[in-house]
Symmetry: C3
Subunit: 217 residues, 3 copies
């Protein structure tokens, strides 16, 4: 595993998810410690689940304080930005766009760290584990964030969310015999971001089965 | 561990819980990917918790794509059944009965896979670990499903639910020196199903302590 | 690790969290099995997360039935106390005080068991892992309890909660080269209890960033 690539995506994902966790916490009017807890849980939660499932214990996030420190600093910066913003209020749509951007960058980065962890484990099929670990890592932190914030996890209703992580992981994994790991990682990153933003921009939705068929006359 | 018995109950439990997860997701009006995620999480979640607790990492569900594929297919079939049902609408009571049936078959099957995993680990007491792993595996998937679907986990208020898994696991574990593993598994299956359906049919409830004693005059 | 100290704090934490779980379950009008499940989950959940993260599998709680038995007995005792209390009703403030007391004792005790587990693992930095495992163990059981009971986890909004566990763990860990483990444990216990009760008594709150800046005129 190319460790620089790993570190880049790990840090990018940690920062992006810490921002998204802090934004949710502030909207829920938590105090500064609640904001830090939610930011840290979102940022390191997915990675802890990944390491425990891959059999890497203790998880990296416990051996090394960088990710926790980073989330705490991000949580403080976001809180200060909310409190001391000197300009006229930004509108809600911009905030939503900002939230979606950080959430998407986190999703893409953590798909990659999960996929690389899966590739570095010899056990099992060379496609199954990287893809599944990629998707679980990508959505894990967000699921923890949403459960803690007492709302239904975004992965269950958002447009093309886990689907984007799955698609990116499957495509880049299928290239594992042709390109090197760094290229795979960047292909995955670009695919997830593109697919998720296209879905947001064009309002793509997936098929909803009718749940009310038993009410039909 | 008799692996055919294991595989039978694992597949039976996976199918049953995938159906229950998909039904909950459709009731919550999720889109097709939400339905697949919830079906897969319900079907493989309990088993992942079982494997992580038993120290089997990576969990079987990550090494082998069968269970995930099975849950995805089940989710698609259930969605299609809801959408294209050609007959007059079925009534709600029948749907509830169907849901309870799948949930109960899943509960019984996963009690068995948890118990067999516990028996195959040498560590610890020969009764404690199989019984506890059986109960945790049985209720784990359902707890994840209910947390994700933003409702209180059924295990906390449903009639004789974890109690049925506990009873089946205790009785069949206490026979481990007298009968073989296959017989144990089927005894456990029958006991859990019987106890749970009797509770549903006869409306058995457990004792509710009064929470309003501080309001008494 | 001094095992008597470990056992004392483990049992103290288990009892205290079992009481808090049972009280929440009774308030939610669960039946006796729901009460037992929630008490057990609160009491052993944090420790299971701790052991899985520290790579101790199967977790101690599965190898040894003491903690489960203890939580079941506590759940039965609390239920009986609620049902058969012969005296005039106690007021709500007293019940809240009682709940906070048990919750705080559990928090302090589990901070210590997490910290001692972290210290006994050689991997990683001698400060990072004990502190993080202490905080995660301390808040883990309560998070599971609150998620199951369908309310927002207390750790996200309560006055000085995880902060108290963090402070106790940091201070006592920083003394690890000067005092023995038993003294460290008791220092941590006293600090967490003192800080949490001072926060409750004096109504200390942490800084809330304004979430409504975008509504300002």
């Amino acid at each position: 595993m190319d460790s620089l690539t790993w570190v880049i995506f790990d840090i990018m994902g940690t920062i992006a998810f810490a921002v998204s966790g802090a934004m949710v916490a502030i909207q829920r009017r938590m105090d500064i410690f609640g904001i830090i807890v939610l930011a840290a849980l979102t940022a390191v939660g997915g990675g802890m689940v990944r390491d425990v499932l891959a059999g890497i214990t203790p998880p990296m996030a416990l051996c090394n304080v960088t990710d926790f420190m980073l989330s705490i600093i991000i949580a403080l910066l976001v809180s200060m930005a909310y409190s001391f913003w000197p300009y006229p209020p930004l509108n809600k749509n911009f905030m939503l766009w900002l939230y979606n951007m950080f959430d998407t960058v986190g999703l893409a980065s953590f798909t990659i760290t999960g996929m690389l962890t899966g590739l570095s484990r010899e056990a099992g099929n060379p496609y199954v584990m990287p893809v599944l670990l990629g998707v679980i890592t990508a959505v894990g932190g967000g699921i923890l964030r949403d459960l803690m914030a007492h709302r239904m996890p975004a992965v269950l209703y958002k447009e093309i969310y886990a689907t984007a992580a799955l698609f990116g992981a499957v495509v880049s994994c299928s290239l594992q015999n042709y390109v090197d790991v760094v290229t795979m990682a960047w292909i995955c990153f670009v695919l997830v971001i593109l697919l998720r933003f296209s879905a947001l921009h064009f309002g793509w939705h997936l098929f909803h089965p009718r749940a009310d068929w038993h009410k039909r006359r």
